[in-house]
């Protein structure tokens, strides 16, 4: 067909292309009440933060609380410690949960309710009870972990893995739901790959988004967690905060804001990563 016919045919087949439609149609709702609630909410949330900021600036000279804290080696060492513990927790969680979730989906679908029930158990056992049980169990033979620093660290990581279990498992499971693991596995097997290769080279890379969002959530939990860190007597960030709270006047305000900022940063990253995924619910829960 020559250009002429093409042009005429094209004129007839001209697709209708539309500029962007407005997002919500419908009669305009009265939004006065909405604005009011929003304002009240923002005010309630902002006041304590403002209060903390004001206090942190009351030291003489004004920024000395901030400079003191930013120059305090222990702030950074405990922060770093918390980060490292958090990182180890994340790795252990991934190593434990990704193969489990994968295996359950692939081979043991009938076990799913049981596994999901187990992932709900950490909600039933609050951190204070958990650490109570852990200390009781592991302060005696055959595994007196609480006796040594390393043992306590191990206990800490395991406690945090348990604590973040519901969120991590849900994130990984949600991610697995979106990929057809059965077909992928069969393709891998027909190409000669073993289980480790399948998990490491195919499944894990496809779960990057879910794992990242679960990881940042775990990090936020670990950095902010006080109860377990306190009773296992490890130099974590939250326990250091508690210490200076008792001893200093204005510096705790500065650190409190630093801690808030860190959590916000982690959440911001989660939001950025998790954009487009549906499972945004229940990423909270303070102690």
């Amino acid at each position: 067909m020559t250009g002429q016919t093409d042009r005429l045919q094209a004129e007839l087949d001209r697709p209708t292309s539309w500029p962007d439609r407005p997002a919500r149609r419908g009669a305009p709702r009265k939004t006065v009440a909405s604005w009011l609630f929003l304002l009240l909410g923002v005010v309630y949330f902002a006041l304590p933060l403002v209060g903390t900021l004001i206090f942190s600036l009351r030291a003489k000279p004004m920024l000395s609380a901030w400079t003191d804290m930013l120059n305090d080696p222990q702030v950074w060492s405990t922060l770093g410690y918390s980060f490292v513990i958090g990182l180890i927790t994340i790795i252990v969680s991934i190593v434990l949960l990704v193969p489990t979730a994968f295996w359950v989906r692939l081979r043991l679908p009938r076990l799913r309710p049981i596994v999901e029930f187990v992932t709900l158990l950490p909600f039933v056992v609050p951190p204070i009870v958990l650490v109570f049980g852990l200390i009781t169990t592991f302060s005696r033979p055959p595994l007196p972990l609480t006796g040594t620093n390393l043992g306590s660290d191990v206990l800490l990581v395991c406690a945090y893995v348990i604590l973040s279990l519901p969120y991590m498992y849900r994130a990984v499971d949600a991610g697995l739901r979106t990929i057809d693991i059965r077909t992928l596995t069969e393709a891998c097997q027909s190409l000669g790959a073993g289980w480790f290769t399948i998990l490491w080279r195919v499944i894990l890379p496809n779960l990057r988004v879910s794992i990242l969002s679960g990881a940042f959530l775990t990090l936020a939990i670990v950095v902010g967690e006080f109860t377990i860190a306190n009773f296992l007597a490890r130099p974590m960030f939250a326990t250091y905060l508690q210490l200076i709270y008792g001893n200093l006047a204005y510096q705790p305000a500065a650190v409190a804001l630093i801690s808030f900022g860190i959590t916000w940063g982690a959440m911001g990253v989660i939001a950025l990563i998790g954009r487009g995924s549906q499972d945004k619910s229940e990423i909270g829960g303070a102690h």
Partner: protein
């Protein structure tokens, strides 16, 4: 006297986008009118303006002489059936149907009576205490219809009610909808993008594109006498051949090196390129009647579809390809590929696009 009237209705969204421009329509009482067009043509927006969910930027909507343009949606007496059924999940089927009456303050006895009546009408007697999620899509849509009809609205509006259903159910349910509408004699507006639905159900069709009305007419008129290229293309299928105008006044055209005459003058200059649009049912293999147009070409492809044999004929030059559908005949040989064939059609049944000519009204 017009029962449902839209005058000068326009909808412009903030930001400048014009969804509906200058919509004018006068509907008789009891008439079934479809708004037909591709997605985004403004048909649903117009329907929502009748229902009151969107406000027209300018223009008025009148029902039975009363201007309802400024009334909120819960003060108009129109019943709407949504594409996604929108049945209230926390209520039984009966409660859903009776909802409109309940908020109007009717007493329990009359609500119950009317609900039973409607359940009969939609063919689901006795299913009143089921819940929506216990029913199939087709059943849910029928309940939605009953809910819209319960309070005896002046106008019934349906927003692509069958799009979410399976093909088989679509066909049976649309017949039921039409039967119910006829029985009740209720003025109805039906929005759809499916031309088969619009053609088979409506008294009149409003074909829309990009916010504008392309044509209003009966299904027969819309199909046989499309007034714009869009309507011709959108309703039914077309074979398109390219031609060149030899003589505009006499309607002589050059199609693939062969001369033919359209009926009447052609509204394009001599030498310019136009398109011939041919409905598949007017083409036939062979020479046809003495006064038919005959065109020669070579067979490109023959497809055996069972009852129908589709022969694609390529015309010489760059005129294009025509698909001729013939009924299967075991006693007749099917032409071979690359063989020379002739097909024919009555001149007055073709449409000339890109330079319009008015086709003569068919006698009878």
């Amino acid at each position: 006297m017009s029962y449902l009237t839209l005058t000068g209705v326009k909808k412009q969204f903030p930001g400048g986008f014009v969804a509906v421009a200058d919509f004018n329509l006068a509907m008789e009482k009891g008439e079934f009118v479809s708004f037909l067009g591709p997605s985004g043509c403004g048909k649903t927006t117009t329907l929502r303006m009748i229902a009151g969910f969107d406000q027209p930027t300018t223009g008025r909507v009148l029902i039975d002489g009363t201007d309802i343009t400024d009334r909120p949606p819960n003060r108009r007496n129109v019943g709407m059936v949504f594409q996604a059924y929108a049945l209230f999940p926390n209520m039984t089927v009966a409660a859903n149907i009776g909802f409109g009456l309940k908020v109007r303050g009717a007493d329990k006895a009359s609500i119950a009576r009317r609900t039973t009546e409607l359940l009969e009408l939609i063919g689901l007697p006795g299913k009143g205490n089921r819940y929506p999620w216990q029913m199939s899509g087709g059943q849910q849509q029928r309940v939605a219809l009953a809910r819209a009809l319960a309070f005896e609205p002046q106008v019934l509006l349906l927003d692509e009610p069958l799009s979410a259903l399976d093909a088989k159910i679509r066909v049976s349910l649309r017949a039921e909808i039409r039967a119910i509408q006829r029985k009740l004699g209720i003025t109805t507006v039906y929005v759809t993008h499916d031309q088969e639905e619009a053609l088979s159900l409506s008294d009149r069709i409003v074909v829309m594109s990009e916010g504008r009305i392309e044509q209003i007419g009966t299904p027969f008129e819309i199909y046989n006498f499309p007034r714009t290229p869009f309507v011709a293309r959108f309703v039914g299928t077309l074979n398109v051949l390219s031609a060149r105008v030899i003589d505009a006044t006499t309607g002589r055209l050059d199609v693939g090196g062969q001369e033919m005459r359209a009926t009447g003058a052609v509204g394009a200059a001599a030498g310019s390129a136009v398109s011939l649009a041919l409905r598949p049912e007017i083409l036939a293999m062979g020479d046809g009647e003495p006064d038919h147009v005959r065109l020669r070409g070579t067979v490109d492809e023959v497809t055996f579809l069972g009852a129908v044999v589709r022969i694609r004929v390529r015309l010489p030059g760059d005129a294009g390809v025509a698909s001729v559908d013939t009924f299967n005949n075991p006693h007749l040989a099917v032409p071979a590929r690359d063989s020379a064939v002739t097909f024919s059609f009555p001149a007055e049944a073709c449409l000339v696009l890109g330079g319009w000519c008015q086709t003569r009204v068919l006698s009878g």
